[in-house]
């Protein structure tokens, strides 16, 4: 098992490193960092443009592979991802924003997977009954709705609720109310309320896709002989389904988890932007609008590391569930 996970981990590290390097090449060749100096009045002299670009290490007149080498060696030796176009350290920016993004991501992934798997199992066991039909059509509708639409609809709903009640019951802009004074619990409560709508936005999509997948995996298992064997041994229906059914049906889910992580990541960055959270999603969009090569490359590295962790985690779950891997 350790060998299996070790081999996969090495593969992931290698893939992530190449993906980051290719990502750097991609943004270096498509972004135009010099554009913001052009068309100014009075015109900026070429020498100062070059100096500014050289300081960031993004001067297009330097060969692209040389820039990548510089960026890579700088990263490995000093741990720094360079300077953003706003003059801040990209590494510091990412550390500042990572917490915001990770909080949403972890809550979304865990809640989405747990509730989604539970709903999927329930739907499969009650196949074609009314509750299964409701879950199926509800998840189809959710999956047909873009994340930003879910977010904005929730905002409209919360505003109507606030108006009906007369006070701001649900605050949804930003991560916390600016300038709020009070003790620990007031601040905690404020943050939790701000977390409510983004969590629903992100989780509801994850629940829908996990429940669809778990339902079909569970249906495959339900007709299997070993479920009947477990029943004939005298296990109750519930125990046979949970101990022998769900466990087997979770094996394909662990692979799906790695695939769907990209979707959750996308969903999280969209959710952040809709609710004006200052996370990595906003950083990605900002770096593209500002033609900020270093910030974009930093985002790519951050994302590849997350994908690496998610991939390894899904392999660990796979190995834990499937005894064949461990021999």
């Amino acid at each position: 098992m350790v060998g299996f996970i070790g081999r996969r981990l090495v593969n992931y590290v290698f893939l992530s490193a190449i993906a980051t390097a290719l990502g750097y090449l991609l943004v270096s060749s498509t972004f135009q960092p010099a554009a913001r100096f052009l068309g100014r009045n009075p015109p900026v002299p070429q020498a100062s443009i070059d100096a500014a670009l050289d300081k960031l290490g993004v001067n297009p007149s330097v060969p692209i592979l040389e820039r990548l080498w510089e960026w890579g060696t700088h990263l490995v030796t000093t741990g720094s991802l360079g300077i953003s176009t706003r003059g801040t350290q990209v590494t510091a920016d990412i550390f500042e924003r990572a917490g915001t993004s990770l909080r949403l991501l972890i809550i979304g992934t865990v809640l989405g997977a747990v509730i989604g798997v539970a709903l999927g199992v329930w739907g499969a066991v009650r196949q074609y009954k009314a509750s299964d039909q409701v879950i199926t059509y509800a998840s189809f509708t959710v999956l047909a709705t873009p994340v930003f639409v879910i977010g904005i609809l929730l905002m409209i709903g919360a505003t109507l609720l606030n108006r009906a009640v007369g006070t701001n019951v649900i605050n949804f802009t930003g991560e916390y109310s600016a300038g709020l004074q009070g003790n620990f619990f007031t601040i905690l409560q404020d943050r939790l309320i701000h977390l409510l709508l983004p969590t629903i936005t992100l989780t509801i999509g994850a629940i829908a896709s996990y429940s669809r997948y778990q339902r079909s995996a569970m249906l495959d298992v339900l007709s299997a002989d070993y479920i009947r064997t477990a029943r004939s041994k005298g296990r109750t229906r519930g125990s046979a389904l949970v101990r022998h059914g769900v466990r087997v049906a979770l094996i394909p889910m662990s692979t799906f988890f790695a695939y769907s992580f990209g979707l959750v990541l996308t969903g999280a960055s969209i959710t952040e932007s809709v609710f004006s959270w200052h996370g990595m999603g906003e950083y990605l969009i900002m770096s593209t609008t500002n033609s900020d090569v270093n910030a974009a490359a930093g985002t790519i590295l951050f994302t590849s590391i997350l994908v690496l962790i998610a991939g390894t985690l899904s392999d660990v779950i796979y190995a834990a569930l499937d005894p064949r891997v461990r021999v």
Partner: protein
């Protein structure tokens, strides 16, 4: 077709199960009949046709053009004159939504099938050739899957933003085939060992011909399913990119750009947002209902039976 399906088989008087139709029934017509036996497929297909007709015929039957400004109605709520209301410069939201819907549908109907086609070719080639080529192709697919497509498309947006929406279509297709290609590869690896494929190989038929003549038709069902599901996925991707300003650029409009404009005042004037959003959801829902019913009807490994 050796297996019988309770929904498409009739039970004659003598009690033996017989497949619906004559012996001359082709596989294609059997599938079509089985697909449309499912209510979801009928609902999805009919909805898609209605939406497409509505998008292209609707504007002709409506007095307001999508750029016309009604100076007597700035930011009006829905009325008999303006069915979906107007925005703050008096443009009719119903007319705009239909024009946006046209563009979104065109993007969806091109990108979905195009991505499925790329997936089919890449997956079939990898699975058929095997060995080193297979390793390389799978590795490239894994590499492309490290970063979410949305991230890649946002980072590439400086390239296609200056070009027309056609470039967006190309990029959406280029980054939407990877997962399906892996599935096709798996199918091809088992097809490669079939006798008729071996026979063709020993007869000296070239690899390209075998892939075209034997492999692709056998995975066509999967490709059709994903081309259908891909329509909805492409419309979703387009609207999300456009919402953040990275997709369709003015003067072109799509559902995404309309939603982006409507979202800023969605709370105070919900009609700017809710109507286009509802149409977007219904369109994507129709394509996924149809695709899912196709999967139940065609793909015996999907685990679900049609309802």
């Amino acid at each position: 077709m050796t297996f019988t399906d309770p929904n498409t088989t009739t039970l004659p008087e003598d009690g033996t199960v017989r497949e619906l139709g004559d012996r001359t029934t082709t596989r294609g017509s059997t599938i079509v009949r089985r697909v449309f036996a499912a209510k979801r497929a009928r609902v999805g297909a009919v909805l898609l046709v209605i939406i497409a007709l509505w998008a292209f015929v609707g504007p002709l039957l409506y007095p307001w053009g999508f750029l016309d400004q009604d100076v007597r109605a700035f930011g009006d709520s829905p009325s008999a004159n303006h069915w979906f209301g107007t925005n703050n410069i008096g443009q009719d939201i119903y007319a705009q939504t239909l024009v946006g819907l046209q563009k979104s549908l065109i993007i969806g109907f091109i990108v979905g099938p195009a991505a499925a086609l790329i997936a089919g070719v890449v997956g079939a080639v990898a699975g058929y050739l095997g060995g080193v080529w297979d390793k390389i192709i799978v590795w490239v697919i894994d590499l492309l899957l490290v970063l979410p497509s949305f991230y890649i498309l946002v980072l590439l947006s400086p390239v296609f933003r200056s070009l027309s929406w056609v470039a967006l279509v190309v990029f959406l297709a280029l980054f939407g085939w990877m997962v399906l290609a892996r599935v096709i590869r798996g199918q091809t690896m088992s097809l490669r060992e079939r006798d008729y494929v071996k026979a063709a190989r020993f007869m000296g038929v070239s690899g390209a011909t075998i892939v075209r003549r034997h492999i692709l038709p056998n995975v066509a069902s999967l490709l059709i399913i994903d081309a259908t599901l891909g329509i909805g996925a492409a419309i979703l991707a387009e609207s999300t990119l456009s919402f953040f300003g990275f997709g369709v650029q003015p003067p072109d409009v799509s559902l995404g750009t309309i939603l982006a404009l409507g979202s800023t005042s969605a709370v105070t004037r919900p009609w700017l947002f809710v109507f286009p959003a509802a149409i977007l959801v219904v369109t994507v829902l129709a394509s996924s209902l149809l695709g899912d019913a196709l999967r139940d009807a065609i793909d015996p490994t999907s685990g679900a039976t049609s309802d």
